[in-house]
Amino acid sequence: MAGLEDLYREIILDHYRSPRNRGELETPPAHRAEGFNPLCGDEIVVYVEADENDRIRDIKVGGQGCSISQSSASMMSGAVKGKTIAEARGLMGAFKAMMSIHETDIGGDGSEAEQGIDSPVETIATAELKLGDLEALRGVVKFPVRIKCATLSWNTLNQVLEEIEAD
């Protein structure tokens, strides 16, 4: 049986206690999207400013949530800052693959948390992309109801990226 230390790794608690890239960006030039976890009421706002080469120049995260959703958001922001949108999507796919073991089993409710990154870039990305700190969230898959907490910020990021691309 999975223990709490599988879920609450020190690095997760560290990101939770001192989240990176908290705040807001002016829109425009930045784009903004809101994500909700309808199960627990977590709300997250992701701001992304991309340059003309589709590189993520800046990213900020607002909203409130549990330690898993907040630390995941913090790690996500650090991981994609400075990357191109394509690279960010690669990371998203890799993260999603790491989390995907159970997500389809726990009864998708068709909510926004479900949409978006269902067709990630090929999973070979998993091996090649370095998830870094994000690896610490691997233990979340042992706690299926918390997977949505971990993926919330990524799904929200996906919404922002879609908006940027539609622009």
């Binding site: 049986m1 608690l13 627990c40 009421g41 949530g65 918390r146």
Partner: protein, 432 residues
């Protein structure tokens, strides 16, 4: 365990009132004797503190349902063979018991739905669709569950009436100073008898009277009231009362809408299909009388028998005694939690235990409710994190989630000590 699954006598056994015997009650609930294995391999007694979401059910209810499935199951109302008659008797027998339990003058006023949510949607979709339009208003309160908000918002989008809100104060109690003004032009006042977030008990009779004085109807969301306190719809003088079976020891899949006969008779059917008609031709249909008019399709047959057994069980305990037990436990919980956790702990809602039901919505320092629940699960303590389907109220309190512990007949002070202990652990774990 009961020997027979026939209706238990409705007259509780006479003799001196016995003390509330939680150990004996618990013995009737097989699920509560389970042990939960935690990550260190140890086994812990299940501490179930989530009855506001859904209660557990005793053998008496399970047996009553089994009995119908094993000996008297068929579809209702349509067969002439004996089995069908027995099933119909089981189904209608449940209705009669529930009518008696809530003081309904007439069992035909008890409509079975699938849950309180459907009951409230029935009021909106049938009465509301017939009676509401531009210039009208429906009054609800900031304490409401989404089940008593969204049906009105859905209908308002179509019928263009106004939705007004009775405000609440910091203690989670309704602010009634402006009630009369708010009721001006209102056709229906729909409100909860007890908040599922703060446990706030609302002054039902006073609210009903205020509505009637302004010519409005009163609809009571009694989902958290009927399971926990004596309820008499006639004493309330309400027009509609909605509740769910699964929160009061009954099965899931059955809910109740009680309505005043004259109103129900004037209302159009909600769902169409078999079982709700007198006649159907190529030109149209004639709806059945009460309660059939509102019970399209195969109803919750076995669930009615189960809910009947549930109200028998509660009647035997006595609803006054149930309420008293919960007040005592609530007072104990508020005291011991505050002592152990002090600053940093907020128990949302009224500070006076007698002014609230057995629902304790907590926030603890900056530890998120989700994380609290996760730690508590390690101690086999089941509570619920989240917004509890009452987002407007949560926003009012400025929180996105609370950790909610809720009490029922099978809980005792040991359960609350386990809760307190687990919360102390959670605080330590997340000490920021």
């Amino acid at each position: 365990m009961s020997e027979t699954n026939e209706a238990k006598p409705d007259t509780p056994s006479t003799g001196p009132p016995k003390a509330f015997d939680v150990a004996a009650i618990r013995a009737d609930f097989p699920i509560l004797s389970q042990l939960q294995t935690t990550s260190d391999g140890s086994k812990k007694r299940l501490v179930f503190l989530d009855s506001a979401a859904s209660s557990q059910r005793p053998n008496q209810v399970l047996d009553a349902m089994d009995e119908v499935y094993k000996t008297g199951y068929a579809n209702v109302h349509r067969g002439v063979y004996q089995l069908a008659e027995r099933a119909t008797n089981a189904y209608e027998g449940g209705r009669k018991k529930i009518a008696r339990f809530i003081g309904a003058p007439d069992a035909a006023e008890v409509i079975f739905t699938k849950n309180a949510t459907e009951s409230l949607n029935l009021v909106a979709g049938s009465w509301g669709r017939q009676n509401l339009g531009p210039g009208d208003a429906v009054l609800i309160t900031m304490l409401e569950h989404h089940a008593n908000i969204v049906p009105w918002q859905m209908l308002a989008a179509e019928k263009e009436f106004e939705i007004r809100w009775v405000p609440v104060n910091e203690g989670g109690e309704l602010i009634l100073d402006t009630l009369d003004q708010l009721l001006d032009g209102v056709k229906l006042f729909s409100f909860t008898a007890m908040s599922n977030v703060t446990g706030t008990l609302t002054p039902v009779r006073r609210l009903v009277d205020a509505a009637h004085a302004k010519g409005a109807l009163a609809c009571v969301d009694a989902c958290q009231a009927v399971p926990h306190q004596p309820v008499d719809v006639t004493e309330w003088d309400a027009d509609f009362v909605a509740f769910s079976g699964h929160k009061m020891l009954g099965p899931s899949g059955i809910g109740v809408l009680w309505g005043r006969r004259e109103l129900l008779e004037d209302m159009p059917p909600f769902l169409g299909g078999g079982g709700m008609i007198l006649n159907v031709t190529t030109e149209g249909f004639i709806p059945d009388g009460l309660p059939g008019k509102f019970e399209a399709g195969t109803p919750p047959i076995v669930e009615s028998a189960g809910l009947g057994a549930a109200v028998d069980y509660l009647s035997t305990l006595g609803m006054e005694a149930v309420r008293q037990h919960e007040i005592e436990l609530t007072a104990y919980a508020m005291r011991s939690l505050t002592e152990a956790l002090g600053e940093g702990l907020t128990i949302h809602g009224p500070s006076e235990p007698a002014a609230r039901g057995g629902v304790l919505s907590l926030t603890l320092d900056d530890v998120h409710a989700h994380d609290i629940s996760q730690i508590l699960d390690e101690s086999a303590v089941c509570i619920r994190p989240g917004h509890h389907c009452a987002k407007p109220l949560m926003r009012h309190f400025g929180v996105s989630a609370t950790a909610r512990a809720s009490l029922y007949i099978y809980n005792d002070t040991d359960d609350l000590d386990a809760l307190t202990e687990a919360l102390v652990k959670a605080r330590k774990f997340f000490a920021l």
